[in-house]
Amino acid sequence: MKSLKEVQDDVIEEFSMYDDWLDKYEYLIELGNGLEPFPDEFKTDDRLIKGCQSRVWLDTSVECGRLFFKADSDAVITKGIISLLVGVYSGREACEIASDDFSFVEKLGLRENLSPTRANGLASMIGTIRSTASKNCQK
């Protein structure tokens, strides 16, 4: 299994292949459309992430110290972004996620190229993933 850092570098490399922002969006839209279906009964308020202009749901499950994320959004580009996050972090050990600095998001250039409300949503998504990981990391 690749390390978290390696997976992140792969994502950064893939994303940087697109020079034009519209191409990056095309890529995110495709990613979002390919996200594993999210059951409707999971779309509850406690899974809803605050601070997004679009609605984002994040479901977390824990198996043997590993975190598994499922997510959905009613907006396609946001869905692509969470799909990136899910792809990188889902199935990883809680402690590995908890010790990550999440700087790969900056390297993707997503934060500064999204509207502040959207950046807030991204920060909330990361915050939720990070705090869930910390809670489940017993060291």
Binding site: W21, Y25, Q53, S54, V76, I77, T78, L114, T117, R118
Partner: protein, 409 residues
């Protein structure tokens, strides 16, 4: 003045974003600033930084004159009866909060009622909720119909002797329709109830005559009508302003201050505590001059063409749903909130942004109205007199591309 000359007054219109020419269609959020306003703003900062009304030295004198000249300019622009009825604030929100507090203290008690319309911006909802909870009063809601028109029949039912104030927007920042504010004032005045008109959008697209409308309070922001941000106006009839206690205590709002008690200055200074927007407020003079220029036949014709083009583009295609339909006396200002079938407003706005088009998406600070129409948000394109039909066409062709990108499932 033609549109191209007018555009030249706004330096930001020649900006590019992501390598594309900026098409700024978020004017309902804030307008761009013309050179004359930027010039005055700079000059006030560079040459006349002095506090107002206090000192006898030369630059304070000039700064005070400029500030007070802005009061005269506003009085003239909205045709208020006297300059004492013009209070400077930081914007529409501050103006409404001032009334909510000071009018509330003077005129509202337990069991009283306030009416707001369903089409209000949060700034004309939340201050009243706060005031009602403070005073034990009840907030009643005047609904809109499916067209976005106010239910005046319901207004007549809601009004009663306990209604202390009716607060309604002149033009909704979502629906872009001119509300029959004069008729509303007539209805309310017939039972002696005063009216506050939120003019944040209304002031921009037509001349306003507060004495003709006869509203008791009129609030607007400078930044939506080309002036510096952090400037705003509250017009209030002298009768009410004289009876309302100050909103904030501090410098320049007093008559005498003693340990045994303080007496206050008269309006408007009673409501202008603390250091004011020294360099910003004077720009209202230049801003309102620019706003007057937009009433020229040529610029008006340009706006009408934009409205006709957009109404036609959004109504003739079943994928679009336009909120706020003109008709029955409701005129459309060049502000269009709409949804696109199956697609999320945020996705569309993000893609449009990368094509150089600045539009608004989301709830637009009007969550109750979003609930009324059963949507989580809308896409809004709001035009100013410097926008052109060509830009409207670019918006629609960019939107078409965005739809193609998103609809490929």
């Amino acid at each position: 003045m033609n549109v191209s000359d007018f555009r030249n007054e706004f330096p930001e219109l020649s900006e590019t974003v992501y390598g594309k020419r900026l098409v700024y269609l978020d004017n309902a959020a804030t307008s761009l600033r013309p050179q004359s306003v930027i010039g005055e703003w700079n000059e006030m900062s560079a040459r006349y930084t002095a506090n107002l009304h206090r000192a006898v030295h030369h630059i304070a004198e000039v700064a005070t004159q400029k500030y007070e000249q802005a009061r005269d300019a506003v009085r003239e622009y909205i045709n208020a009866g006297s300059r004492e009825e013009i209070i400077f604030t930081s914007g529409t929100t501050a103006s409404i909060n001032l009334v909510a507090f000071s009018f509330g203290e003077a005129f509202v008690g337990p069991g009283d009622e306030i009416i707001v319309s369903e089409a209000e911006h949060h700034s004309n909802i939340v201050p009243w909720q706060m005031m009602c909870s403070r005073k034990g009063a009840t907030l009643k809601v005047l609904p809109v119909d499916d067209q976005g028109h106010l239910r005046l029949d319901v207004l007549r039912e809601l009004l009663n002797p306990r209604t202390r104030l009716v607060c309604v927007t002149q033009v909704s920042n979502v629906l872009g329709l001119t509300n029959p504010i004069k008729e509303i004032v007539n209805i309310c005045h017939s039972i002696g109830c005063p009216v506050l008109a939120d003019g944040a959008q209304g002031i921009v697209h037509s001349g306003v005559d507060v004495r003709d409308i006869d509203c008791d309070f009129y609030a607007f922001s400078g930044h939506k009508i080309y002036a510096a941000p952090g400037t705003g106006v509250l017009y209030g009839k002298k009768y009410y302003l004289d009876k309302m206690p100050p909103y904030m205590g501090g410098g320049e709002m007093i008559s005498t201050v003693k340990w045994t008690g303080t007496s206050y200055a008269d309006a408007p200074h009673k409501f202008e505590a603390g250091t004011q927007n020294i360099s910003g407020t004077p720009t209202l003079v230049q801003a309102l001059a620019v706003a007057s220029e937009t009433r020229s036949a040529e610029l008006q014709k340009n706006m009408e063409e934009v409205v006709d083009y957009m109404l036609n583009a959004l109504s003739s295609d079943s994928r679009f749903h336009l909120f706020g339909q003109p008709g029955g006396g409701y005129e459309k200002i060049p502000l269009f909130s709409f949804s696109v079938e199956h697609l999320h407003h945020e996705d569309l706005a993000l893609i449009l942004d990368k094509m150089g088009v600045a539009v608004r998406s989301g709830q637009m600070c009007a969550e109750p109205l979003m609930d009324r129409f059963g949507v989580t948000g809308m896409l809004r394109a709001s035009f100013a007199p410097y926008n052109t039909v060509e830009e409207a066409k670019y918006l629609m062709s960019s939107l078409e591309k965005a739809i193609k990108m998103l609809d490929r499932k």
